[in-house]
Assembly symmetry: D2
Homo-oligomer: 265 residues x 4
């Protein structure tokens, strides 16, 4: 069953301003774009560039004045879903070079600070079972509370307040995984079960691929429990939310509104 997406947002800038956008479903082997249309503000220049890890694209918009963006797409997902708990972790020395920065501290995920807690709480487990335990621990101890966190909130604060939204849940999971030497990245996505409807975010962890000796596989993990990996449409990936904001403005801007609709057809 395809996933149908309908996104709109509007903002204003005062004078010519560079705006970086990333809101379209990525074209990937695991998710086929059946149809899509993107409406950018008419008469304003834009360019597309590949995004991090070659997953999806970013759009540079030379914005000026009032801007409206609209995106409609239908996506078919054919993602192989492993049984998370049965996956092993890769020994550190088998990690490919490009996975290593997903072990390190980033803007919102100060992972090194979590080592003693992660070791004490999850150190008796390994690999996918360890990640599943982290996911369940966050799910059981946090309350999903829109408005309790903001753009500066990172995993350290969220771990204390035990509150937040998808972004905060993903940051804490990413930080805990990295603290146990499992590469973890942040995925911006669309998913039908999200309530209230909005852009969504989940974590992805890098574990041993049971089908390829010495190989690794990125697995979606959603500590909020709202998104089913088989219905999750990836937009982009990064080290945390700083890397995959749907809009980053280089200059003052005035955000006006957004709406996101995601439905299973």
């Amino acid at each position: 069953m395809p996933i149908s997406i309908n996104t709109r947002f509007a903002f204003g800038v005062d004078g010519p301003t560079d705006v970086l956008l990333q809101f379209e479903a990525a074209a990937l082997p695991e998710q086929t774009i059946l149809s899509c249309e993107t409406h950018l503000p008419p008469g304003q220049d834009f360019t597309r560039v590949p995004a991090d890890d070659d997953i999806g694209e970013r759009i540079w918009l030379s914005a000026d004045g009032h801007c409206e963006v609209e995106y409609r797409a239908k996506i078919e997902i054919k993602r192989q879903l492993a049984d998370l708990s049965s996956l092993q972790s890769l020994p550190a020395h088998q990690l490919p070079g490009e996975a290593i920065h997903y072990l390190l501290d980033s803007r919102y995920c100060h992972a090194d600070r979590f080592q003693p807690f992660a070791q004490s709480e999850f150190g008796h487990l390994e690999g996918g079972a360890q990640i599943a335990a982290m996911r369940d621990w966050i799910h059981d101890n946090f309350s999903y509370t829109p408005g309790a966190s903001g753009p500066d909130t990172g995993a350290v604060e969220s771990f204390v307040t035990r509150q937040g939204v998808c972004r905060d849940y993903a940051h804490v999971l990413v930080a805990l995984a990295r603290a146990c030497a499992i590469p973890a990245r942040y995925v911006s996505c669309y998913s039908p079960g999200v309530s209230p409807p909005d852009f969504h975010a989940v974590a992805e962890v890098f574990l041993a691929d049971p089908e390829i000796e010495g190989g690794g596989t990125w697995q979606i993990v959603d500590a909020t429990g709202m998104a089913n990996p088989s219905e999750t449409v990836k937009i982009g990936v990064g080290r945390d939310a700083a890397d995959v904001s749907f809009m980053t403005t280089f200059g003052a801007s005035d955000f006006k509104s957004s709406s996101v609709e995601v439905r299973e057809e």
Copy 2:
């Protein structure tokens, strides 16, 4: 004149622990490794993997107990040095995809917060002249004060305290450059003029290459004024210090000592 490097450091871990090391000069067109030898703790497994942007290598060490690392090398530098002030910036839409995450916030460089200040102080300038003005502003307003900052100190704190070491100077410069939409990365390096002798860090900014239409070039900028780009030996690059620590330990460790000697032969 080649640069000669002699580095030693020692640490201890209690039980088998994964340690990520990055301390060797990178083999690059602009710097030739004339000779080098690396001594890792005997009897402990290690693997090498390419580091970020394919600059240099990281070493995974399966450490246990007391560990000593020693590195000696001779490097010849043939870096093309542009006149910074004469370089233009690339328009945002001409930036290659892989440069874009060097515009975004990272662990120690919360660049978006600096936009109003950067615009007000440096907004009348452009490109290399803007970067040169930032470099001089930091140099004139900060005092180089070993001990005034620590492993958690980021550009925001340093901007307030006006104190720090090479790492802090580089973080502030990186944050200011990104706030003006110029990609900036953090470079760990060796350089003969550093006092007291230690690992060094500088910033690199991505500006228009005057020799290649539409192309870009990374240019070293050192706000401390201690390192001459023509004598700077790059170890690795990243979004900030979190990415190029010479040692990252996944578990408790006890750092014992380090010494760094860098001489022009």
Copy 3:
């Protein structure tokens, strides 16, 4: 000319919750309460206690369910206004014991970090002239931007972003004054010139009283320039905004609305 105040706010709590309120004009020699009426939610217990430095009162409310608070008052102000620039500072050893914690770091004012900047920018001045220069520097370098800061924003962040509201302006001024060893406190207040109309905040600094040998005097300073000290109605004082929030809830709460009207009669 008396100042007329009309304040309302509403919030909800889910189950019995202790709520601390501080929103009434303080009865002080320098401001006479001509008339006032306070409407607390009917049927809910409350107690009044003296607030910090015996300026004004706090109200403990045992809240439950939907709560509305309304306050109307007329105040006459007879504040002696000194010429700030002509006031001397008190030597540290002449400061009374109870002024000393207004020199120390607090929740939102990490004053020690500002010492090098304050010394470099304002170190050639002294006393009230130094404070006036700080006030003018903030006024000239910051932009009043509702929405740019939040409840976690402190002086360090505001100093970097150069944006904020009255609360942030006051925090930066308090931090700079303390960094120069001048006691500074945070004053919540009402003032007619505030736009958009809201609770207001200013700083107060402790300087030598020209009329009393060895004595000190607290002087209002508003870096936003919106409030005239001769029309400012004090609610309460504290080390920073954490101490004089108009509402502090010990449990989850849902803030619904507030309106503040302040007029010169």
Copy 4:
């Protein structure tokens, strides 16, 4: 059995600098100063002022150049020790005005963020039993690790890292108590059991005095378990470590050495 204290510390300042010192045992009904001598740097002016809550004194020193401070004292402690678990908390509306700022956020204790965790983990308990559970939880989940924290470390960071020294243990306990609406302050002190020997810090919480109807009593709680309240010599109290540092310098200083010896005679 009296407690004998022998403290020395040395520092240097470059030019006349105001230094605030607080290192002497407070004269209190519960602890009698049998003998004491304080040696301040000769030829430098100083003044004594009462410290916060009238517990102990602060010394203003007009320091210049190299400074050495020495303090020797014998103290007899006659503190009434209640059974913590049996004490009730005071209802919020019975708290005296001067206890209320010990409920609010301070420099190192951002207590409001801990409300959901504190409610979830300790909400089924009340009063002294709740505090005892917090103390035991910290003791069981944290490791005493000199060097793991620094002067900027607050309760939020410590709660994540689960590491620190007496100061950090006290900050977390203070934050948790305030999050449950129990006033809590930070006490700098001397205690014989501290290892390695150093200045010590504990928390004090304000609970119902079983002997005085409607009255309250401050009770020492040490989550490190190193200090016995019957042997703890109070120096001063404050909202957190920012208020009772043994040395606060208003200008650059160079700390050289300190030694603290505390023995039961």
